[in-house]
């Protein structure tokens, strides 16, 4: 695959740098060289708020079955089901995800992230994609929980539970964001495969429905959803989320007692 235009944030830098990258080999083109991400220190490329979407994969909603008609839900969702990933959760390519004390498994939510490029207020579905600067990969980590009624904030808001990266692929490099294969590998073994073609609200529709009541600003990220049967990871696991045409995001799950690096941030 040819190189594509992206934005990347070098660790310690305040700005995003425009670079050519290869999403297949997960390398950055610097001068004539293909540089591995393992040889670069990169930060997550996000400057705004991260919003997640749930129950936007057909299989995920179907997995609730008739429970959507029972209490506590009462009826299937009408508006997009959204949540906020707070700033303490932000993590980066190669970063450690701390396993909280007393837990042994974490749920790995593999999401395509839409990075907003201009102020999006009540956008029209027809031109919604023009508000997207580009696409990134998000590892929306959570403590395993079944209910989507009123989940405790501590399931999704732990430190390091939202790895984002490695870069933002420019919007024009992706022909159809509603048809991208997503794969999750744990220790290089394929654990999950799905496609954004299975979204209930395709991307433009999702942007229209969200911005109807909530402005998305440049640098904000909207996750399009997490597919059903999200894999579980434990301490020591290497997680790689691969999205076709975007790249691969790698992280490790470590014992929460050992993540002292967070104390410096």
């Amino acid at each position: 695959m040819k190189c594509v235009k992206s934005k990347i944030k070098v660790l310690g830098s305040q700005v995003l740098s425009s670079v050519d990258v290869n999403p297949v080999t997960n390398t950055v083109t610097l001068l004539e060289d293909e540089v591995s991400l393992d040889d670069l220190q990169i930060d997550n490329p996000i400057t705004g708020t991260v919003f997640g979407t749930l129950l936007n994969y057909k299989g995920e909603l179907e997995s609730l079955g008739d429970a959507v008609y029972d209490q506590p839900y009462g009826s299937p969702p009408i508006a997009p089901v959204l949540y906020i990933k707070p700033a303490n959760t932000y993590n980066r390519y190669g970063g450690s995800i701390p396993m909280p004390e007393g837990l042994t498994k974490l749920t790995i939510g593999a999401a395509l992230g839409l990075v907003i490029g201009k102020q999006a207020i009540a956008v029209d579905e027809k031109n919604a994609l023009t508000y997207v600067a580009g696409y990134t990969i998000v590892n929306d980590t959570s403590v395993p929980h079944d209910s989507v009624y009123r989940p405790a904030v501590q399931h999704r808001a732990r430190d390091g539970f939202c790895s984002i990266g490695p870069w933002i692929i420019n919007r024009h490099e992706v022909q159809n964001p509603d048809d991208l294969t997503i794969r999750v590998f744990i220790n290089e073994k394929l654990q999950q495969e799905n496609s954004t073609s299975n979204l209930i609200r395709p991307i433009a529709r999702l942007l229209a429905d969200v911005t109807e009541f909530m402005t998305l600003s440049p640098g904000d990220v909207l996750l399009v959803g997490v597919p059903e049967n999200a894999p579980l990871a434990q301490i020591g696991d290497k997680i790689r989320i691969e999205i076709e045409g975007i790249g691969s995001l790698e992280n490790f799950v470590v014992d929460g007692k050992e993540t002292k690096w967070r104390d410096l941030l």
Partner: protein, 252 residues
């Protein structure tokens, strides 16, 4: 001291309350009505408490929770003192919620209740509007109810923590068009401020300018376009907001 962020003369300034006027960071003294009030800080992570007053929980037909019911809010929803909040045309029940806002000042992890007040920078007032028509039972309270643009007036200023003798003993009131509609005291919180800081910091790191909106007592009444809603907390501030209608937003 009471510190505000305001816009005046084409620039953003820090200002302090100055005997009924405002003293800007450059020394100018101006009238309160001459400035545009911004939120007193730029909030980072904002937590809000559901059902943290027993009388409000009963009013909504819930039993009091055994663990704090926390949800999150994002920057798009905040507006300052004397701002306008939009009421969609199709709704039948949009109500205010007067809440004490606790502003964190220090990095906080695994804080003990006994130490919790050391992590607070100051206090302010928030009006955490809700539109109950849009309530759905998925990741409740859903953002369409609680995180709308202009849906959370916040201000007018931050009062230094050192100037508040006992934040757990403050009177809260809401007036709509000068009529008293909500009255309570922070003494009635189910989970008090030290408990909330201890609870949140037990599973995540809190940082400067994180904000905890500590919940509201009973007295939720529908509001109408044109209503002037004043949420006030004794010794903290008086936050004024006006409800406006859909027709002003011409790009919809």
């Amino acid at each position: 001291m009471r510190r505000a962020r305001i816009a005046y003369g084409g620039a953003i300034h820090e200002a302090v309350e100055w005997g009924g006027q405002l003293k800007l960071d450059d020394g100018r003294i101006v009238e309160e009505h001459e400035v545009i009030w911004l939120t007193p800080i730029e909030p980072r992570t904002v937590f809000a408490l559901g059902l943290n007053y027993a009388d409000h929980a009963a009013e909504l037909a819930f039993s009091a929770p055994s663990e704090p019911l926390v949800f999150l809010k994002s920057p798009n929803t905040f507006v300052g003192h004397h701002a306008y909040t939009r009421r969609p045309e199709d709704v039948t029940y949009m109500h205010y919620e007067c809440e004490l806002a606790v502003i964190i000042g220090e990095t906080a992890r695994n804080v003990k209740k006994a130490d919790a007040y050391n992590y607070i920078k100051g206090y302010s007032v928030a009006n955490d509007y809700a539109i109950r028509d849009y309530l759905e039972n998925y990741y409740r309270p859903n953002l369409r109810v609680k995180n709308r643009d202009t849906g959370t007036p916040f201000g007018p200023w931050i009062v230094d923590a050192a100037d508040v003798a006992d934040p757990m003993k403050l009177k809260l009131t809401t007036h709509v068009n000068d009529k008293l509609v909500q009255e309570g005291t922070t003494a009635d919180m189910i989970f008090d401020i030290p408990t909330l800081i201890s609870y949140l910091s037990s599973f995540m790191t809190l940082s400067e300018n994180d904000v905890i909106l500590t919940g509201t007592p009973k007295g939720s009444v529908d509001t109408a376009v044109g209503d002037v809603v004043v949420t006030e907390i004794e010794g903290i501030g008086r936050l004024v907001n006006t409800i406006i209608g859909d027709e002003l937003f011409t790009n919809r």
